[in-house]
Symmetry: C2
């Protein structure tokens, strides 16, 4: 019981396939009589167009690909959510491909996308991956995210990690901290590197010594890094973690050592994932509108794809998003608290339409 094709519909309604295509795609004019007969045949045959065939003939898949290095944690889930939202708004499908740790695998994934998507969003926190995107993709439109965009005029959305880190340090300095340590992200990760550099320069500018512990963006690594430092003679009075998950780990390590966060040690994270607000003490962090960034990337990809048609050449080059400092409980010791910090859930509920969620 093969499913019906356009030819079956044509036969059953006694018209040509072209006509069926016409009434279904509704561009050109057709008589009411024909429209009726075709629609009826479609109904009885339960005909559903084959989008694969359609794509081949139209040279357009209405599908966009997303290449991710990983799929863990709220960062990516937020990113995909934003992209999905934008994709739906433009009637596009989204095909996601993750776990491309090494460049080789990412290259493979990109190749296998050819003929399946109209364009690609590539998240490449590693240098080589970005390079690959340049070469291997061929004529497929690509928007890079969080890549090393310096010097290229390739469309790209990036977060100003350096600036974010500076803001973190500045905030800690303002609130009286002096021994500010940093738990960094994985070596070779462009974002982690930038955040570290931003931290280092800000400290240097303040004439203070920097102290950097390794980490890998996981909560566990944040915990261990801080636990190590607490065992030393002169522990820091503040920790700037390269992302929120590590900041959460840092807070736990502090609490477990019998110390108080923020009174004894302040903690600042990065990203402002949803969890940051719920944890106690709520995390001071650098908010980046993750979902918004994803949506923006997708929109840029779409204009990039449409560019040859519209004739308008799309704005090229990197687009840089500046994170904003969100001060919560984890960094403000009592003597510095100006206003009450409410623990009531704020308007952070992202279900803007107020509709019920799934479990």
């Amino acid at each position: 019981m093969r499913s019906a094709t356009i030819r079956d519909v044509a036969k059953r309604s006694g018209v040509s396939v072209a006509s069926v295509s016409r009434v279904l795609n509704g561009a050109e004019a057709v008589t009411e009589a024909m429209r009726g007969r075709v629609l009826e045949a479609v109904e009885t045959l339960r005909y559903v167009p084959h989008s694969g065939a359609r794509s081949l003939s139209m040279r357009r898949t209405d599908t966009l690909g997303v290449i991710l290095p990983d799929l863990f944690g709220e960062y990516f889930s937020e990113l995909i959510r934003g992209m999905d939202l934008a994709a739906r708004a433009h009637g596009k499908h989204l095909i996601v491909s993750s776990s491309h740790d090494d460049a080789e695998e990412a290259a493979m994934a990109m190749r296998s996308m050819r003929g399946r998507v109209d364009g690609l969003i590539v998240l490449s926190p590693h240098l080589d991956a970005a390079k690959l995107a340049e070469g291997l993709v061929g004529s497929l439109p690509v928007v890079l995210m969080n890549a090393a965009a310096v010097g290229t005029d390739r469309p790209c959305i990036t977060i100003d990690n350096h600036d974010g880190a500076s803001q973190a340090v500045a905030h800690l300095l303002e609130t009286g901290r002096r021994r500010i340590a940093h738990v960094r992200g994985p070596v070779g990760n462009l974002e982690a590197d930038d955040r570290m550099r931003g931290y280092g320069q800000a400290l240097e500018a303040a004439g203070l010594e920097s102290r950097i512990e390794p980490g890998d963006f996981t909560q566990g690594s944040g915990y261990r890094a801080v636990a190590r430092m607490l065992a030393e003679v002169s522990p820091p009075d503040a920790v700037f973690a390269a992302n929120d998950m590590m900041a959460v780990g840092a807070v736990l390590a502090i609490q477990e050592a019998g110390l108080n966060c923020p009174d004894d040690i302040a903690v600042v994270g990065f990203d402002d994932v949803p969890i940051a607000e719920v944890v106690r003490p709520a995390l001071t962090t650098l908010k980046v509108d993750i979902a918004g960034t994803g949506a923006r990337a997708l929109e840029r990809l779409i204009t990039l794809i449409q560019a040859p048609a519209t004739g308008a050449l799309p704005e090229s080059g990197p687009e840089i998003v500046r994170p904003t400092l969100v001060v919560r409980q984890s960094s403000v010791a009592l003597q510095h608290q100006s206003k009450t910090v409410s623990s009531r859930p704020s308007g952070r509920d992202r279900n803007l339409r107020g509709e019920p969620h799934h479990a």
Copy 2:
């Protein structure tokens, strides 16, 4: 600058397109000489096969579709992660489509998948959506998730929500609670309904009165529900929330009222999303292996797709996953604590290979 087709490669290497296809797909035998020439042409032309065309001719897309009602929160991100993992293991692509609140929209999404995917996983917490999947999909293999699977022999993965709720109540009773309230999920959501029924029956069996507050699975609704109850003359001494996010809201409401959780009021959630372990007090909850469930659904879909080929008829009917109670701090008052509850991050890090994550 059109990208090269198989014909270009054939021409450049002086062989037929059939031969190019042969060396590239490597099924049949070819002379070394030819293989060399073809591969060289592929190289210089930077030829990448067009998977769309390939799909059309092979009647196989190697792509699976996932239809979700929503994309908020950790529940879905975990689910997708599990599916993605399984998909990669089988060399399949994943196309996700979300925000199908009403059945109409979901139906549309399913139709637009025809010719684009080899099968579908449909998450339908609403009855009608499940019904739609039955009819509209035609001959496309479908695996339902969390749907009303009773009575059908359609492949389906479901969580035993009723049982989970019973476990929650049993646990609270065992630890001495008597005035146990329930914050339910959205009306009409099958899972929310089942959890509520499980709660109701368990309380009834214990000869206690039930108390049900409305909610919609969001943290805010959990907060408000509990805040309402705390304002009454005889507030509960325990709250069973239909999911973890509402449980988090419940805890915040309790703390904000100046009460202690769990000493004054115990809280139990459902799902065990990653956040449940990090929040303070850590949430007692009903753990369901979300990612595992997603992976399982995907695997079942694959066997379903391969069924006609292998001849083996796939196991049909629902597959029910029983949640397991995870006792943490939010439900165990001091006088009931048997063993120390460590706040150290456990082995919950899901990065099993220990590789670095992205921010």
